[in-house]
Amino acid sequence: MFLCRLKPAEIISSRQKVIGFWGAPPAHALEQAAERFPGAGFLDLDVFFGAPVSGVLPDAYCHIIRNCIDNALWLGDRLVAVVAACGEEKCDAGRYAAALLAARGIEVIATVNPNRQRTAQPLLCEAKGPLKKRAIRIMESIVEPLSDRERNAAFMTRCTPTVGFWGTPPHPIEVLELFPDTTHIFGWTRCVEMGVPADLELERQVPGDLPIVFFSQGFCAKAMIARELAKQYSGMYVDVHDQMHAATMAKIEAFIRLSGGRQ
């Protein structure tokens, strides 16, 4: 099982077949799909690749789910199946999106991932390095787990945090470029690295003495947790929909800077 490293535009212009997925489906479901479609790499449909807007979803809807739908429809016959997270580890919109794609003739393998056995340490979450790169690698690890070399490197670069990021990988992902290398990751992204994407208890765990940006994608149900935790821990709640406006960037920069987070 491997990740397809081509962008959808390249996939469309080639003969490459891909298996789409969203959320964090269980490994056995991904392995079964890989066996059924040999030669097809996995593509994370949550990610924004510049797909044309299909117009299937309302404008006021979670951009991540819009990515899932628009990417899948854009790929056309290059997409052999979608392994769709439809359980509490994703959100209700995951189920609805799966039904919507299935109704358009796309093969959808609906999965749930209720695992509560923490199978990995939060190595990348606590390593020192560019936040965006670490978050992307965590999501890639759903299909391609960290190698021993990567685990060792992450372990050796564990750092004392100066600031925290809580949430899912955001759209736009460039939000993460505002954070210093000494940022620790919390929330759902941490749950994914530890192999328990539906672990709400872990998702809500944050240190009390660290300035944390609690991020919520616009129109995401996680907003209620993000806002509550931000209040409880004197963090900053940020909600971003389509674009990251200058005001949002300024808020994040100011919070990090004034909280002593920038090293």
């Binding site: 949002t248 808020k251 100011a254 004034l258 909280s259």
Partner: protein, 233 residues
């Protein structure tokens, strides 16, 4: 050393030794090649050696000028509102409303010019105009005036509605420090004082913030000078 706070409408500059802040329209600054050592506000970004975003300079200036642990500062500009709240002198709320330009300073200023109104004589009563959308609110003023209502009274209701919005945006505090040009608008101050104790900080808080940053690098600069401090009541 030169400091600049170049917002959408006005650019405020200051250098050590100046007796007062110099204020010029930002549109002239945007076309100039003048450089600043420290700048804030989007017009200053490309003209400054050291740049701080608006919320950072506002926050730093607030901390330099207000000697309290827990307080809230609102900066009401020509087309936006910025908010910072501190608890234990740590920022716990940062906000920047840029969504609707119609409901802030530029609109009030344009209304005043259009109807030739002296804001010192605008009455603030119990009634207000809903300013959910500034454009609709302006339309209501025009309807009221064409229906025979006094211009000052109609604008007073608009300003009262704006003050209510600003108070809610600030988190409805008992006490509010106010920064920006609106501190010089007596009608707005009267309206806001119906809801909270309002302490004006004047228009120089971001410049005071830049000064504080510069002084951290060069202690010879000393404390924030008198010209950048709030006007005495």
């Amino acid at each position: 050393m030169k400091f600049a706070d170049a917002g959408s409408s006005f650019c405020k500059t200051f250098s050590p030794g100046d007796g007062a802040v110099t204020i010029v329209p930002s549109r002239t600054m945007a076309r100039s090649e003048e450089r600043f050592d420290w700048g804030t506000g989007h017009t200053a970004r490309r003209l400054s050696d050291h740049y701080e975003n608006d919320l950072i300079s506002l926050s730093k200036g607030s901390l330099a000028l207000v000697d309290e642990d827990d307080f809230t500062v609102l900066d009401l500009g020509s087309r936006d509102a910025k908010l910072v709240s501190f608890a234990g002198r740590r920022p716990v709320k940062l906000d920047w409303s840029v969504g609707c330009a119609a409901a802030t300073g530029a609109t009030v200023e344009m209304l005043g010019r259009f109807y030739e109104v002296d804001f010192a004589r605008v009455p603030i009563g119990d009634e207000w105009t809903s300013v959910t959308c500034g454009t609709y609110a302006v339309e209501r003023i025009m309807d009221a005036v064409s229906g025979g209502e006094d211009e000052s009274a109609a604008i007073g209701r608009f300003i009262h509605g704006l003050a209510r919005n600003v108070f809610a945006f600030s988190g409805s505090p008992d006490r509010l420090y106010l920064s920006g040009g609106f501190t010089q608008n007596p009608a707005f101050m009267a309206a806001l004082r119906r809801y909270a104790q309002v302490i004006p900080l004047g228009r120089t808080v971001p410049l005071a913030g830049l000064w504080a940053f510069a002084a951290e690098r060069d202690s010879a600069l000393g404390p924030v000078p008198f010209a950048l401090r709030p006007p005495t009541p």
